[in-house]
Symmetry: C2
Subunit: 188 residues, 2 copies
């Protein structure tokens, strides 16, 4: 993972090692990037959250191979228990794409969405969610609950679970190690 | 249901027939209102949605017997598929009460919350949700899915289902009758 956050400033620049672009017959420059690339971008967003003292969850939205929006958990900053990375990402998308029909958009997020965020993906007709760390207690994309694929819902979201799970989990655990260490320091 | 919307302008005024206030020993005027009173307030919010051409769902938040916030579905207005009455209500509460710990708050809503809104209630530790119309397809407060009472979640929301269900359903059905009639007019 690159240590700089250059792709947060220049979202479409192929700045990372695995960025591969290829000219297509129609003359357009199209990205040929794998899921790992987008998850690494989501991890950088999670790092932004961690740096701000937030539980480190980051998410990016991808359409036609391009990252069109980024977000991270801002519960503490906004003092709003609904300010999860995914929900804020989804709420930003209509403005980003100039349309509130979010067809063909995929979300990459470092942690399995909760029921609220999974429900927001269903309501917004997100095509696919790729997540890192599974959440056995509250994960609502198949691990604890199945909101994304619940039969009879108006829309189902395709799910890829556990991508780069170790990296995502490590960032989570490192954050809570720091929180606990700081709490111990305060006490002593 | 009163036809005016006076309690939207003056939320704490006992303007409706069933408002009963009684002096308490401590000299404070405390409301002694039943669930029906708050659901009627939610229905008036739903009517605001209907008047604006939105699917008529309305919600109010109640703390210590007082209505502290109101909201209604604004998906069309905001062009945002997440702008459901309950989610917007919850997002507004920290500012209303000056605290983001939403202890002891109940929500009255005319339709059973979807997974997104039920998840937001869990995340925000809403004490109780009272809803009108059940949603057999997507209702996530016990009818299709049980997000509000899912075992192992960090918080469970108490649920009262089907309060004034007929009135809530009738408003819903009336709205869609009008939508269909208008569509037919346009065609002919």
């Amino acid at each position: 993972m690159p240590s700089d956050d250059s792709d947060i400033l220049f979202p479409f620049a192929p700045d990372s090692d695995d960025a591969q672009f290829a000219g297509e017959d129609d003359g357009e420059l199209k990205p040929l990037l794998g899921d790992d690339y987008y998850m690494r971008a989501a991890l950088r967003c999670a790092q932004q959250a961690a740096d701000a003292g937030e539980v480190p969850v980051g998410a990016v939205a991808v359409k036609d191979g391009l990252i069109i929006a980024r977000s991270w958990n801002q519960v503490e900053l906004l003092k709003d228990a609904t300010a999860h990375a995914e929900l804020m990402l989804i709420a930003s998308l209509p403005q980003v794409i100039g349309d509130w029909r979010l067809d063909g958009i995929d979300i990459y997020v470092t942690k399995e969405p909760c029921a609220m965020c999974a429900g927001a993906m269903v309501n917004s007709r997100i095509r696919r969610v790729v997540f890192g760390m599974r959440d056995p207690r509250c994960g609502a994309a198949g691990t604890a609950l199945n909101v994304t694929g619940f039969p009879g819902m108006l829309h189902n979201v395709e799910v890829t679970a556990g991508l780069m799970e170790e990296e995502c989990k490590e960032m989570f655990q490192a954050f809570f190690r720091t929180v606990r260490a700081n709490a111990r320091k305060k006490k002593s």
